[in-house]
């Protein structure tokens, strides 16, 4: 943990004036490593790296002093990819990590697109490391090969006699060494990238960086106030903007009473937008005062389907439909013949579960800065986004200009959790529209109240489950009906269509393939309330795994067997799953009874990562207040690229899961959000979190995600613990004190 790495400012300024000759030289040097490179893409990549050394590939350039610049294709919201992706290249390149500088990649999908998101530059789904792992290793190895071949020529020895030490080529026979910096200054980059076969990559035992901990690159700037987020940016001549948005999606401003706004000093003007009313002011404080003055000053045309929606009534309608078999549903997933087998079962269990809307609550309220050219034909952006691609596309679309007229500067994000990756990137569009209107750069600030009321939420879902056991008590058939507010088609219609019209964000996590349940199936009851929805950390897993794990507990209870023993039985064909379960039970001393405290358990297979958790919980029966004292968690994510960060992400996931299990709840009345800030949307504080005991079960499998996998463990584990303590099963998240008291009554 002593190695420090420099990080470039997270803006990707591209020099706008480059000679034709520079472009062609760059293009010639860049045609290897990526097959799809077009000349203009290469131009941009060269531009981005040209100040930082000799480009040996679109990903790596090396200066004669040995400094190595490596591109970072992912955006950073605290998950650590800014360190871990360049580190994967550095590993196969055998770079001296202390000489590495990390450069944010420009928005060029052909070079830097995420293979896990159809080539878009998109950071989500805990999939950066897992999707980029193989290609980045190959890119690193290719550059190393170029350096080896160049050194072989220089030294007049066969390349096969050369090895590398960090940033050094070594000829052991003659004792001669050449540094990467020296080689880079004479290297001939071949027109075609050298071929690297999988067996030529390092074996895990040879890793110097992967699975060892390094200092996360941007951390030193995060303890002294110098780390830059979009909200920190100021550009010359800029105005400040704030927006009162329609409370319900689809609405538009009708009458605007500007009188109170006009009395605020330094306000420039009020701007009518298609979806709201904005104020523009010379100072931040004037903009915020004017924004407050807008509250209650606008009436809305009730266009859009969400008007009139009430989430309590909506939930009950969902639950009624889910538990009524004749209400039509679409098959989402099936193995065997669950419906038929349930009718043959000796014992049938059923239960209905509910999960409320939840809000991201990223600490940095949404914001963006834009500057539009006088002719409206070009724009520069400063923002924090989970997708460079979508930021550029949404902006180009709203202005009706080509993508290459959008210059993107992207920054660290004060949290993402899924909020900043919608196709419309509406918080960026705010700034674009207002900058165009103002003829000056505009920084748009959302207040926390704006961020809550215009939030996009984890959807409400109601679930009806049925399970069939045979005469021996074996779970033979399982059927699950989910009525849920749609997410994917709202957040991204293109992705929804590309995904075959399936709502993955809502539904993922219902499948139980790790478990030996011969007949299993899930149906979806598609619902569209008009409420703004979003992927939120854990996506469908958080609701779906709460429901499926808690219902499995109910089955174990019915059979009179231990919930952990039951999972081990179900995991008979999933040895990695058994291992995380056995280990977490051991860590928590599962069999030991605690005075006044209950234990609950959950297991999840989440995009290849296997994780298990145990919560130790007490309950104040008078108030209905639940307290989680300890949480044990094991996790097998294959090769843990940065082990301490895997632990940190897991701690973070558990705390996030705690909030959506116990206190976090958004409710809707007449289509509008009832909550507004941290007093009525309560996220966990330090005095509410358990002591967390986390162990990584490292294996040599391909690395899988770690950014959110433990979040869905928390609710079912707490529900199990409460059941152990009281015999009552909590079936509606969050488990607020009122609900707990009602369930106990």
């Amino acid at each position: 943990m002593t190695k420090h790495v420099a990080i470039e400012g997270l803006n990707t300024s591209i020099p706008s004036v480059l000679s034709r000759r520079q472009v062609m030289i760059g293009a010639a040097g860049l045609t290897f490593a990526v097959a799809l490179t077009r000349v203009d893409d290469a131009f941009a990549a060269v531009s981005a790296v040209e100040m930082t050394g000799r480009p040996l590939s679109p990903w790596v350039s090396i200066m004669s002093d040995g400094t190595i610049s490596i591109m970072s294709p992912a955006t950073e919201m605290g998950q650590g990819s800014t360190t871990s992706l360049p580190l994967i290249i550095a590993e196969e390149l055998d770079a001296d990590w202390s000489k590495v500088r990390i450069v944010p990649a420009p928005p060029i999908e052909a070079l830097y697109g995420n293979p896990g998101f159809a080539g878009q530059m998109y950071t989500a789904g805990s999939n950066a490391v897992t999707s980029y792992f193989r290609p980045l290793r190959i890119f690193g190895a290719q550059v190393r090969r170029v350096l080896l071949d160049t050194a072989a020529n220089k030294l007049g020895v066969p390349a096969a006699e050369l090895t590398t030490e960090p940033s050094m080529v070594v000829h052991a026979k003659s004792g001669r060494k050449l540094s990467y910096g020296d080689i880079a200054s004479i290297a001939d980059v071949p027109a075609k990238a050298p071929e690297i076969k999988p067996e030529q990559l390092k074996r895990p035992s040879e890793f110097r960086l992967i699975s060892k901990d390094v200092m996360r690159a941007e951390l030193p700037n995060k303890v002294n106030g110098s780390a830059k987020y979009a909200i920190d940016v100021q550009v010359p001549g800029m105005l400040y903007g704030a927006v009162l948005r329609t409370p319900v999606e689809g609405g538009a401003p009708d009458k605007i009473d500007e009188s109170k706004v006009r009395s605020v000093d330094d306000v420039i003007r009020v701007v009518r937008l298609p979806y709201g009313v904005a104020v523009l002011a010379e100072t931040a404080w004037a903009a915020l005062a004017a924004r407050r003055a807008l509250d209650g000053a606008v009436t809305w045309t009730r266009i859009g389907m969400g008007w009139g929606f009430d989430s309590d009534a909506g939930m009950e309608a969902f639950a009624a439909a889910a538990s009524t078999p004749k209400v039509p549903a679409t098959e989402w997933d099936r193995q065997g013949n669950p419906l038929e087998e349930i009718t043959k079962a000796t014992t049938v269990l059923e239960a209905t579960y509910r999960c409320d809307y939840a809000y991201h609550a990223q600490m940095e309220p949404l914001n963006a800065i834009a500057s539009v050219s006088p002719a409206g034909d070009a724009v520069e952006l400063w923002c924090g986004t989970q997708s460079q691609s979508l930021a550029v596309e949404a902006t180009a679309k709203v202005l009706g200009i080509p993508r290459d007229k959008v210059k993107l500067n992207y920054y660290l994000m004060g949290g993402g959790f899924g909020r900043r990756g919608h196709r419309d990137e509406e918080f960026i569009v705010d700034a674009v529209l207002l900058a165009k209107e103002a003829g000056r750069p505009v920084k748009v600030l959302w207040t926390r109240e704006d961020d809550v009321r215009n939030g996009r939420f984890r959807p409400i879902t109601a679930h009806h489950l049925r399970a069939g056991l045979d005469a021996t008590g074996k779970l033979v058939a399982w059927h699950h009906r989910v009525a849920g507010d749609r997410v994917t088609p709202y957040m991204d219609t293109v992705r929804f269509q590309q995904g075959g019209g399936r709502d993955y964000i809502l539904m993922r996590g219902v499948e139980l393939r790790s478990y030996d349940i011969p007949h299993q199936g899930t149906d979806q009851l598609y619902r569209d309330t008009g409420v703004r929805t979003s992927p939120l950390r854990g996506i469908g897993f958080t609701a779906n795994k709460f429901v499926t794990e808690a219902f499995l507990d109910e089955i174990a209870q019915k059979r009179g067997i231990d919930p952990v023993a039951f999972r081990l039985e179900l995991l008979k064909n999933t040895p990695r799953g058994r291992k995380v379960v056995e280990r977490v039970a051991q860590m928590a001393d599962w069999g030991r009874k605690r005075d006044g405290r209950g234990l609950g358990f959950a297991f999840i297979d989440y995009s290849g990562t296997l994780t298990a958790g145990i919560a130790e919980v007490s309950l104040d029966r008078g108030s209905g207040q639940i307290r989680v004292h300890n949480f044990w968690c094991t996790l097998d994510c294959g090769i843990p690229v940065q082990p301490d960060n895997v632990v940190a992400q897991t701690e973070s996931s558990i705390v996030y899961g705690l909030g959506v299990s116990l206190t976090e709840r958004i409710s809707i009345k007449d289509g509008a959000v009832e909550q507004s800030n941290f007093y009525d949307y309560r996220v966990p504080r330090m005095n509410e979190v358990p002591i967390m005991h986390i162990e990584i079960i490292a294996t040599d499998n391909h690395p899988t995600g770690v950014g959110q996998m433990a979040t869905p463990l928390v609710a079912p584990a707490i529900a199990g613990a409460i059941s152990q303590l009281t015999g009552v099963r909590l079936r509606h998240t969050p488990f607020t004190p009122e609900r707990v008291k009602k369930a106990l009554a």
Partner: protein
Amino acid sequence: MGINFTVNGKAASTDAPPATALLWVIREGLKLTGTKFGCGTGLCGACMVHIDGKRAFSCQTQMSEVAGKVVTTIEGLSLDSSHPLQKAWLAEQVPQCGYCQSGQIMSAADLLNHNPRPTRDQIVEHMSTNICRCGTYQRIVRAVERAAREA
């Protein structure tokens, strides 16, 4: 008429209206952007600074209250990230998104100024004013304990 005060040892003044929150003057006026806007209502602590040596929500402090006062922001805690808390924060790899961490560190510095060897319970009680949505709480406790030990 401007309002005069001291920030990180330097004289500062602003012509912002007296009811303006110190937070916005620090961030947008003085360009000391380490202090963050999180909730605007004194609920999250991202805006925490020291005023005359005690922690304060800069989003809840009007400029009229700051006249003649001494304000310290994260940028003024040390010149070179050498404060024991800053070192401990890195040793424990505390920050994730990092947005709340200036406020966390300023809260913790206030605690150690008044109680150099806090118990775990005292740390938890004091630090529960500050929200970290990434949930770095367990590491914050460790870092404060480390700073108290190593200071």
